[in-house]
Symmetry: C2
């Protein structure tokens, strides 16, 4: 899932049929498994990758098993999502790469593409999903009798980098590590391990789980386009294109290096580098 | 209220006593009158200026009427918030300028300053109030039977610049007018007339009430540090200091000029320039 880039084309193959063709609209984000939505907060194990895709319906759904004569020669001998012997799916795979030839054949057999009407008029962004996850988590906290009223209030405020979380961050950080910005009206108190994945109000309010960042740097960090090494070095994902860095006026700033992080910061940074940062693949 | 700057000192004078001394922590923001919180949506008339202040309590509250001998010579002859003849308040004024000498005298008479414990551990920011206003407005929309389920859903998504509002903006705007950024993962669909002041779901979802902005530009626009003339010229508030512009890497970009706005944009821009943009005073 994490290898996919916006603009990549995908096919949905379920119940023996290819019925949908899609376009990846954003990078994959860590998210709770849909079935476990209510149990958020139990740690990494319940999380998976959510890939935003805009789907369109094939007018004539295709059964690969019925098209083996044309299809089989195009399938790879290893790691094929469709078994070339019988056209059945490979149950071990969730998302697998196929060749352009296979994609084009299946879409052609599907006749033509019909847009799906629905409530989502735009390409789904990662933000639309993470907001929904955050909303559910906020609702859970609001009803969590094991927390004091103040803990609940401060935990909710922390979602937007406000309240006690922000003051805790401000004790440790004074300025944006990337741009040097100090204006409090502009700085954002950003979670290193995102708010929605914090497993306790302690983690949500921990000043070591935060950075003060300029708004555009906050966005890059939140979306995984940048991260930090424990020694303060800024990691810039190869998936952030040079033109965007130039538009954002960050060419020089991203070469900066803030101070070394404490070991308490480091445990949160490890999560960010592993689960949020958009590494390079291939 | 709008003349106040972060760092300005203020005194609270109520019921004949000066009991609190405060520090302005952010620029004033437009907000519904507290008594009318529930009636949001009736237009400008119900709105007023909210000035974020961190208050401290005077150990010995001061009654100006009892300190006239020292106080009267320091008070101005016109526009004084305290009447020099009798030490009573001037009921026509809500927030008035006083001299440093008057301030220092009253704080000295108040003996010393005691911090107020409370739920707000940090300097209150404008954002903490606008989020609270937004939360109430979202709750109101969620329960508004006069709107269809889809209108409610899309109105709520519009708060974060998502859903139909975003697609409506994307029809009209292709890139950040200030930086030229085109990356959809980074661009924010920002309301010109803020979401919380829109009086209908039509206004909330109107593509002409939106701009696609880079995150730092969105923040400057949202907080009133910049605005736009109808002809596309960028207005930069004198209250945004040059050092911040430099840190944000926007020195060159703020001299840019996007295309002229349509008359439909212009009606929303008028609101932004009048009610959000931080004009210069004095």
């Amino acid at each position: 899932m994490r290898v996919a880039n916006p603009g990549d084309r995908v096919l949905s193959f379920a119940k023996t049929m290819v019925s949908f063709v899609g376009t990846v609209t954003d990078f994959a984000v860590l998210a709770p498994q849909p079935a476990e939505f209510g149990a958020l907060g139990a740690g990494w194990a319940n999380n998976g990758w959510l890939l935003p895709v805009r789907w369109e319906r094939l007018l004539k759904p295709v059964r690969p098993a019925s098209e083996l004569r044309q299809l089989a020669p195009l399938l790879p001998s290893r790691y094929s999502p469709i078994q070339s012997a019988n056209g059945k799916g490979n149950q071990k795979m969730y998302l697998a790469e196929i060749s352009v030839a296979v994609f084009d054949l299946l879409v052609k057999l599907g006749n033509r593409i019909e847009k799906i009407d629905g409530d989502l008029p735009v390409a789904p962004s990662a933000a639309i999903f993470t907001e929904a996850i955050d909303d559910r988590e906020a609702e859970r906290i609001r009803n969590d009798d094991s927390l004091s009223i103040t803990e609940r209030k401060q935990s909710i405020l922390a979602r937007r980098g406000q309240g006690r979380f922000r003051s805790n961050v401000e004790i440790l950080e004074r300025r944006c590590r990337v741009t040097g910005l100090t204006n409090e009206s502009l700085l954002i108190a950003s979670h290193i391990k995102p708010w929605r994945f914090c497993v306790s109000s302690v983690e949500r309010l921990d000043g070591h789980n935060g950075l003060l960042l300029a708004p555009h740097v906050d966005r890059l960090f939140d979306r995984g386009f940048i991260s930090f090494e424990d020694d303060g070095k800024i990691l810039v994902s190869s998936r952030l294109v040079a033109d965007d860095i130039r538009c954002l006026g960050l060419e020089a700033a991203l070469a900066n290096r803030g101070g070394t992080f404490t070991t308490k910061h480091a445990q949160f940074l490890e999560f960010h580098r592993a689960m949020i940062y958009l590494r390079s693949y291939g």
